[in-house]
């Protein structure tokens, strides 16, 4: 894709001539013909992740935690059970752990070994999350990674990186931005970006979100 900012991911040719678009088309044909897969089931899977599951789910969880102290306590205690209260859970989020930012501590989520990510709350991971630059650097120079996202934390802010090396899946509960005291739950959710819930960003200031 010419418009894409990730040159190692798209628009390049495999060194052995492998053509994924042609291979996947032929593979689907053979798997359907042999009765191993049902095309309608494939469509359900694609629809689920293209439309129904995404960062808007996680944003609702965060907004609820900001306005409901009891929910926040339950969320930090047992992320899976608390997310289920809002109807979120399932594949790629069987064991959810939510970690809380404070003025002195910033959390960052990575999977150095593959692409583990809390699917029911954030949907499928973006390309950068799955790519070598993020996976290699997040654990050794997270402050520099944050600067790639335009986030400059004071040197005195402690950073905690969670490498998701098991089926436990992490989500960051970001700090509630100043000036958001009077906002509704829906408006609060609109301040919560995917990056804020991975830890590569902060929740938006209300004025920024309104633009």
């Amino acid at each position: 894709m010419a418009s894409c900012a990730c040159p190692t991911e798209h628009g390049r040719t495999a060194i052995d001539g492998y053509d994924p678009a042609a291979r996947v088309k032929a593979l689907e044909q053979v798997l359907v013909e042999k009765g191993y897969v049902d095309r309608a089931a494939l469509d359900v899977i694609v629809e689920t992740y293209a439309r129904e599951v995404g960062p808007m789910n996680g944003a609702k969880v965060v907004a609820r935690a900001w306005i409901d102290a009891d929910f926040r306590t339950r969320l930090l205690e047992d992320g899976t059970a608390a997310a289920a209260e809002l109807g979120f859970g399932g594949r790629g989020g069987e064991h959810l752990v939510i970690v809380e930012n404070t003025p002195k501590l910033h959390n960052l989520i990575v999977c150095t070994l593959c692409s583990c990510y809390p699917w029911p709350l954030l949907g499928l991971p973006p390309v950068w999350y799955k790519s070598p630059p993020y996976r290699s650097r997040a654990v050794i120079e997270p402050r520099a990674v944050l600067r790639d996202f335009g986030v400059n934390l004071p040197e005195t802010t402690a950073i905690r990186v969670w490498d998701s090396t098991a089926e436990t899946r992490y989500l960051v509960l970001p700090l509630r931005p100043e000036g958001s005291e009077d906002l509704s739950e829906d408006r609060l959710a609109s301040l919560v970006t995917r990056e804020a819930m991975i830890g590569t960003g902060l929740a938006l200031a209300p004025a920024v979100a309104a633009i």
Binding site: R23, V24, E28, K34, V44, E94, T112, S115, I140, A166
Partner: protein, 223 residues
Amino acid sequence: MNGAQDLGGAMGFGPVRPEKDEPVFHASWEERALALTLAAGALGEWSIDEGRYARESLHPALYLNASYYEIWLRALERLLREKALLDEKELDGGQVTSPPAPTRLPRLTPEGARRLMAMGTPYRRQPSAPARFAVGSRVRAKVINPRGHTRLPRYARGKEGVVERVHGAHVFPDASARGESQPVWLYTVAFSARELWGEGADPALTVSIEAFEPYLERCEPKS
């Protein structure tokens, strides 16, 4: 295995480049690669850990050059061949040349797919022994270099840390990737950046991994 997937602490890959307004998929073949991987996986012929092992077994030059869904697709082809669901001619030619093989689970229906997405497949199991470690235990990640699948990243091997959370007994990926079932205790173990990266490390950085009990040994307090 010490494959190209084990990237923590590697250098030279350049900056992280977030894509503005990134779409969920960048091409329609990516949608099909994802859906085929999940639907074929639902036949029960391999575990998620065998799937990961198939991806990390790709030649490092291929792994690092491929887009993520290309890695998934190459691994899916390998698993289908290894489990004898498809043969080489079918993979290369796109034509059916052999009868279907029996599978452990039936073909995924649309309703089954909805259920699979909504319910997931929990990995917590009944423990077969008490936990060896507790919150606060000082532990060392073992130095191991298994040829098979492991979830202990190289950067943590031999390093001392502290158990911070106990997650119960979970499916052990190293065994599951061999088709064996062996639930073991799972912990979050936190390491100081100084312990992991040595001199010059960020003094305000702590990194944790999710460590299965067989990866860990008790660490005697330093005298």
